[in-house]
Symmetry: C2
């Protein structure tokens, strides 16, 4: 197996010294930045995540900051989701689409101040689109990547660990809400969010110099909770149906195809890029293919490219993420499948790199 | 050392089976795609490159295709370089800048057909900017990433190997020119270009199914030339002063700061994004900092973040790429330094991750 070559272009994070000391076994690259992908095996990492608490270096969830009188107007131009309810203390998942309704990113937006918003992005240089949209609409807004690095605290004991470090008030943060908490001589935005379904928080660490002090504080406080370094886990995220931009969806897909229709607001389609295309898709009866869960039988190799899905010899879709789940005793997978074959329980075949495997479409994910 | 986790998001290339079989030792990720970074050591790879011929998987140099009646107009909007001389058979290095003159990418542009251009990009999702610019200017142009994967053939014996595979006519291709050559039942654009100064070609492999057949044909034809798998080599590219977007320059830098002033055309500044900002920079007397070569003394660690440069205790710039060069018996480096200290022979100090090192500014690179 080949190692990864770091460089300035493939950026380290404020937490990299902690990640390395914890014995990271594998990385991926996300937003031109190192993202740990495994500390032991995917299976062991998964079991620990489901039982204890992990600290995740997700600094690669870079922020695109929008600052200025037109910041909110710009944000609303970017997404078909109605942002009326976005306010201080609230996080919103906002699909960002191009003029054809194709997904450009699926970030979380936060209001940070009266005229300041952060878009916490998935893996694409969304800032290029945002800058050009602002320019085209002559908006008065400054757009930049601030020195903010999210740190995840995930798992069933996450709340206990967070309460020890930030105080009991963290327990009051609702899901997809955020609040400000002190650390040393500064203040961080803390949200109840994260890329797992085991519960947890994301700390938006402002100022890279606070990275390792916070990392160490969390580890010192959580020893008896069996805290350890972790990262988004391939098994758990597929079981949970957490989509990965670039894997499960690309600019070729609309939010409706991705099962994100609840984030597409009819009243908003006249006011955003791609709104007309999405309105037409809805008027035509909705998407003709959609994301589904798949249970695949037999042994499967790592899924490093799209695997075609067949039914009676006809191509009907593709699987884009898959791995064996010890807990559910099947291979859990995410794919996109044609309307004709997307019903729960439909039998299909998936052509893995090691050959054809029987599979079943599932309406629901596992977690 | 941590390994890399492949996924659909961190794409394999049409040549990955060949790269793996050749025993790749390390990868980086570039445009969401695997880019080999080392097959033996950097030193051995470098020596071989300078003496023989290597086949490089540079599929990560993805193409942004511009197709339609307004394609040329769009391309000219993107760059301060005058494209009047861009024609079929010609490649041009075109810095792409934002409205502030900040570098968004430093691609090579090729005219492929009357109304079709390819932009062969460095490591950023330039397509997002290009799409938004086309939309803002209501241009009639289709923008997409075609199924095109460049394969490099680099080194002093590259021309001999290419002539064996594509015929003697490849010898007539001039530097930064291109022509069409047959392979099996198809035709590829072949350019005399590449990310080394050892001479060579880039084959724009259209259709991923031709990737491994071409790879194998080149290896079969070049056995006595000691052909082997290679990749852009960190030592050779620094010796040669080949800049790396994301390492040596970012959106914070103008082309003038990057020493790319010869690609900024005065007559073009009224007609492109960022032109006004560049005109102001020129009117003010030019850049206040610029890329230079640096020879650093002593032992140095890998350069994975910017190293500050000091003169008499004052911060005057930063080194962004550095490695030991056995051939030149010094550490070769690329950095950006203030006008006050950019003259050839200026003594400075560079703060590496292992401590301060004496260094010398050089007007010229080594190759």
């Amino acid at each position: 197996m080949a190692v990864i070559t770091p460089s300035r272009r493939v950026r380290s994070t404020p937490f990299t010294p902690g990640v390395e000391a914890a014995g990271v076994k594998a990385y991926t690259v996300y937003n031109h930045m190192l993202l740990p992908s495994r500390f032991t095996t995917f299976e062991e990492d998964c079991t620990h995540l489901k039982n204890h608490v992990q600290v995740w270096d997700v600094a690669c969830e870079r922020q695109v900051a929008l600052e200025g009188p037109d910041a909110r107007r710009l944000l609303q131009l970017l997404t078909p989701r109605d942002l009326t309810k976005l306010s201080l203390g609230r996080c919103m998942y906002v699909p960002v689409v191009d003029q054809n309704g194709g997904m450009l990113n699926d970030p979380v937006a936060l209001q940070i101040d009266k005229d300041t918003y952060w878009i916490s992005i998935a893996d694409s240089d969304l800032i290029l689109w945002v800058k050009a949209v602002a320019l085209a609409n002559e908006l008065n807004v400054k757009i930049y990547e601030p020195d903010v690095s999210p740190l995840g605290v995930q798992g069933p004991k996450a709340e206990d660990l967070m309460a020890r470090v930030f105080g009991e008030a963290v327990r009051d943060i609702g899901f997809y809400s955020c609040a400000r908490f002190g650390f040393e001589d500064t203040v961080f935005t803390v949200a109840r969010s994260g890329y797992s379904k085991q519960g947890g928080f994301e700390i938006y660490v402002e100022g890279h110099e606070y990275g390792m002090p916070l990392w160490e504080t969390l580890f010192d406080a959580g020893e008896d909770l069996q805290v350890r370094a972790g990262c988004p886990n391939l098994i758990e995220r597929i079981e949970s149906g957490l989509l990965s931009y670039g894997n499960d969806m690309t600019a070729e897909n609309t939010p409706l195809e991705c099962g994100l229709g609840r984030f597409v607001s009819q009243n908003q389609l006249e006011h955003c890029y791609g709104g007309q295309a999405l309105a037409e898709e809805i008027a035509a009866g909705g998407p003709i293919q959609q994301i589904r869960a798949f249970a695949i039988e037999g042994e499967i190799p790592p899924c490093v490219q799209a695997w075609p899905i067949y039914a009676a010899g006809q191509y009907v879709g593709q699987v884009t993420s898959a791995i064996n789940s010890p807990d559910f005793q099947t291979n859990v997978a995410i794919g996109m499948v044609a309307q004709s074959h997307w019903n729960d329980g439909t039998a299909v075949e998936v052509e893995t790199d090691d050959g054809m495997r029987p599979a079943m479409v599932r309406e629901k994910f596992w977690n």
